[in-house]
């Protein structure tokens, strides 16, 4: 993975309309962003569309990324997640396959992956582990797979409002734990 400094520099050049920098940025970041888009949408055509939309936005709005405290990769992934989730929500029918959700929701990263990913990542995993298992997998499922409250409610057979209440509490706990 390219270093944040590379990407920040490229974004700055892209903001100034530098096409070479744009090509390089695409080369360095598109695989990760396509991975994000595909994981959320689970449909190659849609994931490709979203990837295009994301880079169009990046070309037009790279000036919005300056020395904010976000890492450039997080910024790009946040844009990708937003586009992908908007597209999922815009689908006419909710096609939540319960078995598929159950299978994917348990895909917590292996301990080895955590070690590789470094201390921050360990921290969020530690904090998630302090939640009840069902709640941490709901947070992960929503973030990684784009599940809506409706899908989580179907999945756990809990009324939507109840899911919302306990997910909000879980997020507040997560925030507290991360700030320690």
């Amino acid at each position: 993975m390219p270093t944040p400094n590379d990407i920040t520099g490229l974004l700055a050049r892209v903001a100034l309309g530098d096409r070479q920098a744009f090509d390089l940025l695409y080369q360095k970041t598109s695989a990760k962003l396509f991975g994000v888009s595909l994981r959320l949408l689970k449909d190659r055509t849609e994931a490709e569309d979203v990837l295009q939309e994301v880079y169009i936005k990046v070309w037009q709005r790279a000036d919005r990324f300056n020395q904010s405290d976000a890492s450039p990769m997080s910024w790009l992934i946040a844009i990708t997640r937003n586009h992908a989730i908007d597209r999922i929500r815009a689908r006419k029918t909710v096609t939540a396959d319960i078995e598929e959700i159950a299978e994917l929701a348990d895909k917590a990263p292996t301990p080895e992956a955590n070690v590789i990913a470094g201390s921050d990542r360990r921290k969020i995993n530690e904090c998630l582990e302090q939640l009840e298992k069902v709640k941490s997998s709901a947070v992960r499922g929503a973030y990684m797979e784009g599940y809506s409250y409706q899908e989580l409610s179907d999945r756990y057979k809990i009324p939507l409002n109840t899911v919302r209440t306990w997910l909000r509490r879980s997020l507040a706990k997560l925030k507290e734990c991360l700030s320690e």
Partner: protein, 240 residues
């Protein structure tokens, strides 16, 4: 930063509805209607946008778990076509060396002829009475400017929408065309509109697609001919 203390975890979930909404928005669990309402708030409500950014940072440590997947090459081809294959003359020093120009010609006799007329007008610096506009800003900066360029008077008017100039500094406006180094257009800022006379050599650079940027410089402007301070606002020039 002081308001950040108020949304701390000690407040509990009921204590800050906005923080909970920002978390839900970033997590992605809300339905379409709620998402579009909040997307609008992100654009218009700085405090709320800040909460969203904080949650993005907080949850971004989960991003490692997304596995990279190389997209098919066709995506980049389609993307380039969507972004750069439009018949507009931008980011090129020499029209004759410009691929866009030749593509334009080949689009068809009518378009080609129109382009030729326009180009000949530009080349001999005759007014074509176009108005170009750019809105300049940057995330996490309060400064905002709007620039308006009239090709027939070669006058650039720039208004400061927001942002106070520090007393011992100046705001300097730059035009950046293609891979060329920035060229100074003069000092800006202060109250109300400011009109800048654009020098002959820079007039031809004012086309849709070039970038304008404002940097923070020592009083009197940069002495090196290039920006020396941070860029505080950027915008792309558009036709109106």
């Amino acid at each position: 930063m002081s308001d950040k203390a108020n949304i701390g975890p000690g407040m509990g979930t009921e204590g800050n509805e906005d923080d909970a909404l920002a978390a839900e928005y970033v997590l992605g669990v809300l339905d379409q209607a709620e998402r579009s309402t909040l997307a609008l708030r992100v654009k218009t409500d700085t405090a709320f946008a800040r909460l969203v950014t904080d949650w993005e940072a907080r949850l971004s440590d989960l991003d490692e778990a997304y596995e990279a997947q190389t997209p098919p090459a066709s995506v980049k081809v389609a993307l380039d076509r969507r972004l750069f294959d439009q018949p507009q003359l931008e980011n090129h020093n020499s029209l004759w060396a410009s691929l866009t120009f030749w593509r334009l010609i080949s689009v068809g006799a009518v378009l080609g002829l129109m382009a030729l007329v326009l180009i000949s007008l530009w080349t001999i610096n005759q007014p074509v009475g176009q108005t170009l506009v750019a809105s300049l800003s940057a995330v996490n900066r309060t400064e905002q400017f709007v620039a308006l360029y009239e090709t027939d008077t070669q006058t650039l008017r720039i208004s400061t929408i927001s942002g106070d100039k520090p007393t011992d500094k100046d705001f300097e406006l730059w035009i950046i065309s293609g891979d060329n180094s920035p060229k100074s257009l003069g000092l800006v800022g202060g109250v109300g509109d400011k009109a800048l006379r654009v020098t002959t050599s820079l007039q031809s650079k004012f086309v849709a697609g070039v970038t304008l940027a404002v940097s923070l410089e020592p009083e009197g402007g940069s002495t090196t001919g290039l920006p020396t301070g941070p860029v505080i606002a950027v915008g792309i020039v558009k036709n109106i």
